[in-house]
C-alpha cells in the first residue's frame, strides 16, 4: 500500500523555490495504478517519491507502513524502480553481471551466477547473458532492466515511462510482462492503452493531481486537458 499525506516536492531554482509537486494526499491499494499527464507535469516526481529517490519536502510518503524519509533502505528493498532509459539503469557491462549485482544481498556468492542466469532465462535473455549490454537492442535492455529489478522480488514496482523509447513490438512485450506481474504496479505512462488497463488512474498536471479515479474517466479528463495547444 502506498500512502502520500500532504506530500510536496520543492527545489531551489534561480534563487527562488520551484514547486514540482503540490500537496498531494492519496492512498493507493489497487494492484495496477497508472499516472498520466503532460511532459513536465510532475509524474516522474510522484513516481520517484514512492521509491525514496526523491524525498518529500513536506508531508510523508509511506509504503506498506515504511516512511521513505526514515526507512529509505527498507523502502528501496520493497519498491523496485524502472527508468525510461535502460541505459541509465544498467550499471554492469554484461547482463549476467548486472543481474548478479542485484542478487548480491539475497544469494550467496557460490550460487549467484547460476541464479542470475536463471533470472535471465525467465525473461528470455539466456542467450544474451554475456553479450555486452551496449550491444543489446533497446527492448532487450529494458527487459534486462526489469529482470534486474524483479530478480529481488520487490512488493511494489514503479515504472517511469518504461515503453516510451521502445518500438511497437517491444512495447507490447514489456506491456504484457507488466500486466502479468503479481506485484503492485505504479505505471507512469503516455501509453493510454496501458493506462486503460489500470485499476486506477491519476492525472497529473502542473504539479498537482487533477483527477483520480477509474481509467475511462481519467483518460477522458486527460484528453480534454491535452486538447489545448501547448504554450
Amino acid at each position: 500500500m502506498i500512502e502520500l499525506r500532504d506530500a510536496t516536492v520543492t527545489v531551489r531554482s534561480d534563487g527562488g523555490v520551484r514547486t514540482l509537486l503540490q500537496p498531494t494526499t492519496c492512498t493507493l491499494t489497487e494492484r495496477r495504478v497508472a499516472v498520466i499527464g503532460a511532459n513536465g507535469s510532475g509524474k516522474s516526481t510522484l513516481a520517484r517519491l514512492v521509491n525514496g529517490l526523491v524525498l518529500p519536502s513536506t508531508g510523508t510518503v509511506r509504503v506498506d507502513g515504511l516512511d521513505t524519509a526514515r526507512d529509505g533502505a527498507a523502502v528501496r528493498r520493497r519498491v523496485g524502480f524502472v527508468f525510461t532509459d535502460p541505459d541509465a539503469q544498467l550499471v554492469m557491462p554484461t547482463p549476467v553481471e548486472d543481474v548478479a549485482l542485484s542478487l548480491r544481498r539475497m544469494v550467496p556468492a557460490a550460487g549467484r551466477d547460476a541464479a542470475a542466469r536463471a533470472v535471465l532465462a525467465r525473461f528470455g535473455l539466456a542467450d544474451h547473458a554475456e553479450v555486452p549490454v551496449h550491444a543489446l537492442s533497446g527492448g532487450q535492455k529494458q527487459l534486462l532492466a526489469l529482470a534486474g529489478v524483479l530478480a529481488v522480488q520487490p512488493a511494489v514496482l514503479v515504472c517511469d515511462e518504461p515503453t516510451t523509447l521502445l518500438d511497437l513490438r517491444w512495447r507490447d512485450v514489456v506491456d504484457e510482462l507488466l500486466d502479468s506481474l503479481e506485484q503492485q504496479l505504479l505505471l507512469v505512462t503516455h501509453n493510454l492503452a496501458a493506462a486503460a488497463r489500470a485499476d486506477r488512474v491519476l492525472v497529473v498536471d502542473d504539479g498537482r493531481v487533477v483527477f483520480d479515479g477509474d481509467a475511462a474517466t481519467a483518460i477522458a479528463a486527460y484528453q480534454l486537458l491535452m486538447s489545448a495547444r501547448p504554450v
Binding site: N51, L53, G72, A73, R76, R77, G80, F81, F83, D87, A88, Q89, L90, V91, M92, P93, T94, V96, E97, A100, L101, S102, R104, R105, A109, R112, D113, A116, D127, H128, A129, E130, V131, P132, H134, A135, G148, V149, V152
Partner: protein, 209 residues
C-alpha cells in the same frame, strides 16, 4: 554463447570475457595481488631487458587466458599507439633503452590489468574487494560500498571508451573533429552525467544502502 557475442565482449578493455582457462578459475584476490606485484616489479626492475621480459610474460598470460587475439589486439590499438608515441619521444630525449623500457612497461601493466578484468566477473571482483577491505569496518568504514565504487570504476572503462567514440562521431558529423573543445567538453559532461545516472540507478535498486 555465440561466436559473435564472444568477439564483441572482448572488443573493449575492461569487459569480462567468460571462459574456462586456468586464469578464469583463479580467485579474483590472487589475480589482483599478482597484478599489484607486477606493478611493483615494473617499477623496481630497471632496464629494457627486464621490461621486454615482463611484457613477454604478460603476453603469454593473455594467450593462456584464451582471449580472442584479433579483438583483444584491436582493443589495445589506442594503448599501443600511445606507447609508441611515448616510447619514441623518450628514445629521442633519453636514448633507446629508456624509450623501449617505458613503452614496454606501459603495455605490460595495461595488458595485465586487461587480463585480470577479462577473466574475472564483476561479481567475483566485488566479493574479493569486499573481503580485502574488511578491516575498514574497524574504523567505521563500509567495505561493501568501497568495493562497489572500485568495481564500478573498473567496469566503467568500456563505457567511457564508448562515450569517447560517440562524442568523436558527433563531432565528426558536425565537421568539428579537429576542434578539441567539441571532443573534450561533451566527453567530460557525458562522463559526469553517466556517473550521476549510475548513482541514481544504484540508489533506485537499493544497492549500496
Amino acid at each position: 554463447m555465440n561466436r559473435g557475442s564472444a568477439s564483441a565482449s572482448a572488443g573493449l578493455l575492461g569487459l569480462y570475457h567468460p571462459g574456462t582457462s586456468w586464469l578464469h578459475r583463479r580467485g579474483a584476490g590472487s589475480k589482483a595481488a599478482a597484478l599489484a606485484v607486477l606493478g611493483l616489479a615494473v617499477v623496481v626492475l630497471r632496464g629494457p631487458l627486464w621490461a621486454l621480459g615482463l611484457l613477454a610474460g604478460v603476453v603469454l598470460l593473455a594467450v593462456s587466458a584464451r582471449l580472442p587475439l584479433r579483438t583483444t589486439t584491436r582493443a589495445l590499438v589506442p594503448l599501443l599507439v600511445t606507447a609508441l608515441l611515448v616510447g619514441g619521444y623518450q628514445c629521442w630525449q633519453r636514448g633507446w633503452a629508456t624509450g623501449v623500457e617505458i613503452a614496454a612497461d606501459l603495455v605490460t601493466v595495461v595488458l595485465a590489468a586487461t587480463v585480470v578484468t577479462a577473466t574475472t566477473s564483476a561479481d567475483r571482483m566485488l566479493d574479493a574487494l569486499t573481503r580485502a577491505l574488511g578491516p575498514l569496518r574497524r574504523v567505521g568504514g563500509a567495505p561493501e560500498t568501497v568495493a562497489l565504487a572500485v568495481g564500478l570504476m573498473l567496469r566503467a572503462v568500456p563505457a567511457l571508451m564508448r562515450t569517447a567514440t560517440e562524442v568523436r562521431d558527433a563531432a565528426r558529423a558536425r565537421g568539428l573533429e579537429r576542434d578539441p573543445r567539441a571532443l573534450l567538453v561533451p566527453a567530460a559532461v557525458r562522463a559526469v552525467g553517466r556517473a550521476r545516472a549510475t548513482g541514481e540507478a544504484l540508489a533506485a535498486r537499493g544497492i549500496g544502502d
